[in-house]
């Protein structure tokens, strides 16, 4: 039996892939594996001892941990919901307005709305803390000008409002991203499709709902998943605006800040890298689960249009 002719091993594939694979492995895969491994150990008398799922049993079984965890998860879900129902619709609306050919200065608006996205969280957190400050902030005065002073409360200090306020600040910062992505999607809709719609008498709002929206749905899907991943990894804004204890009364505590306190400790609380890694692992699983649901249930059903 003659051996099949051996194809020469294509070294160049390996060579071209190597840099990306090595860098990605070193800075993403290894730390991730390290975190997963760390979550299965405990530090007993300065020695790392393998304890199996003990850390996770503590995280869910010990009320001292589980109450905080569920609280953080609940807050995180609310943080995500606000983004989904405020940020993305506004993003779509802005993109629709921007893509209107009759709008003047659209480049200016586009830039102005996108600028906050490139600001540092520290600046955003600090600026908004000042704007909303009951002592020196401009918010009370501005509201006074329109006669709404009575509606002003120290939002960041009230348990019932703080998280929603922070979510809206985050929306303000990031609304430019869905806007840009949708804007690009809207621009890529071919003229012929629009013209055909007009020939069929579909114009104005109906055109948006029946023609454009279905065509940009895949982009909206991508934005939703980006928002999901971003929100469940969020940490910076809460940390800069409310501190690591995510006050008042943990009402703004999300998974990121909960992880930070557990991993690095805070004030007298001494950091516990193992419990921290367990929380990080849970965050990883939550995000992985969300992304999988999207990929397998939503993405496959979105119809693609080839032009």
């Amino acid at each position: 039996m003659a051996a099949a002719p051996k194809r020469p091993f294509r070294w160049h594939i390996g060579v071209f892939l190597a840099p990306a694979v090595l860098v990605y492995t070193a800075i993403m895969i290894l730390p991730l594996a390290g975190t997963l491994q760390l979550s299965l150990f405990r530090n007993i008398d300065q020695v790392q001892v393998f304890v199996g799922l003990e850390n996770f049993r503590r995280l869910f079984g010990d009320p001292n941990w589980s109450v905080s965890f569920w609280n953080a998860l609940r807050n995180n879900v609310w943080f995500f919901i606000i983004h989904m129902i405020v940020q993305n619709p506004i993003g779509v609306l802005l993109a629709a307005l921007l893509s209107s050919p009759r709008l003047r200065f659209s480049a200016f608006y586009r830039t102005a709305i996108f600028v906050p996205t490139i600001l540092s969280f520290v600046i955003v957190g600090f600026a908004w803390k000042l704007i909303l400050s009951p002592l020196w902030g401009v918010a009370p005065n501005l509201m006074d000008l329109v006669g709404l002073k009575s509606l002003f409360t120290p939002w960041l200090g009230k348990e019932q409002y703080a998280l929603t306020t922070l979510s809206l600040i985050s929306v303000w910062q990031f609304v430019g991203i869905p806007m840009m992505l949708i804007y690009a999607a809207l621009l890529s809709i071919p003229e012929e499709v629009i013209e055909a719609a007009e020939c069929d008498g579909i114009t104005g709002m109906a055109q948006f709902w029946k023609i454009k929206l279905p065509l940009i749905l895949p982009s909206i899907g991508i934005i939703s998943i980006l928002t999901f991943v971003g929100n469940f990894n969020a940490f910076d804004l809460i940390y800069t605006a409310q501190g690591a204890l995510a006050g008042p009364n943990y009402s703004t505590d999300i998974l990121g800040t909960f992880l930070y306190r557990a991993f690095f400790g805070f004030q007298l609380q001494i950091g516990d890298p193992n419990m921290g890694a367990a929380i990080a692992t849970m965050m990883f699983l939550i995000i992985l689960g969300g992304v999988c649901v999207y990929l397998f249930l939503v993405q496959t059903r979105l119809r693609r249009y080839q032009f």
């Binding site: 909303l132 400050s133 939002w155 960041l156 200090g157 204890l245 009364n249 004030q267 950091g271």
Partner: protein, 419 residues
Amino acid sequence: MTTKLLTALLLGTSILGSAGMAYAQDVTLNIESWRGDDLAIWKDKLIPAFEAKNPGIKVVFAPSAPTEYDAAMGAKLAAGSAGDLITCRPFDKSLELFKKGNLADISTLPGMENFSDVAKAAWQTDDGKASFCVPMASVIHGFIYNKDAFDQLGIKVPTTNEEFYAALDKIKADGTYIPMAMGTKDLWEAATMGYQNIGPNYWKGEEGRTALIKGEQKLTDPQWVAPFAELAKWKPYLGDGFEAQTYPDSQNLFTLGRAAIYPAGSWEIGLFNTQAQFKMGAFPPPVQKAGDTCYISDHTDIGMGLNAASKNADAAKTFLSWVASPDFATIYANALPGFFSLNNTPVKMEDPLAQEFVSWRDKCKSTIRSTYQILGRGTPNLENETWVESANVINGTDTPEAAAKKLQDGLDSWYKPAK
């Protein structure tokens, strides 16, 4: 993503850490600290004074932000990029570093004999056998008031609770000043300047604190709930929107002359002296009845230890011995009024406000914050929970009893007092 954050943090700290290393003929010592405010004092006064006496040793003071110090320090020590000299937080934070072998044992360091056992207690093992940091300073709690405002309204400095609330009522009725500058946004103000400030008068200082550690008293006992009840009464005297008022906001409110009373720690003295345009005075936490013994929180706050991995251990020890000397104490206490030396040799201080604070040491009994020694060890962390609950009590989210119960329950979950 979280791991990315972590990697970035670790990389960041290690780069920053090594950037401080200068390669010169002289030995260069790096001091790690969270006291960024003191940069000028170290650079202009303390370090030159030391370098003049010890040629060949250069010292660099490299502070980081207070809220990041502990986390950054842990990462740097683990990565081996920390400075030679480590500014020590009191109690367990440093004890933990010592147990990990990051801080060297300096019990036999020349100069350690200048400190009393109480002063050294914050940086010793539980059995008191090994010391690992030189005590530098303590801070005292009390209230700083606007003297001009008090004179204008004809208010006498309050000594009892009754007088205290009468004064607050009078300021509030007048309306020119916000009676008290304190906010609950940053949480720790409520706990440190509130609960730990007035508390010792109720739990009788060391007596209550040690009884709590021994398990003879509980946080739900009346003497531990009473300070919370007092805090709840403060709410109407705080400024509008105090729920979102941060610590710097409170400082500014007071130094701008808009508030009359500031629940303080003595560390404010330096800053207030430079910023306030009016005369200031201070009074210790008011007692319940005239004639009661007064108790103050005189909290051991800062020490300095030796990084066990330091390559310049000998030079660093020379520096630490100098830190333990009366020379250092005099420069430090005068340069930083409000940080009181723990040295046995009495230090002469110029600042009147600082003198006022330190004079309470003679007439009142000193104690340290109740949540630090031993009790500040576990999870949920008693100190951090006290922050949250003190703010809750002032905000009206929790009743004093509910707050105390939450703290005791949290403590019970991990702390079993030795019987």
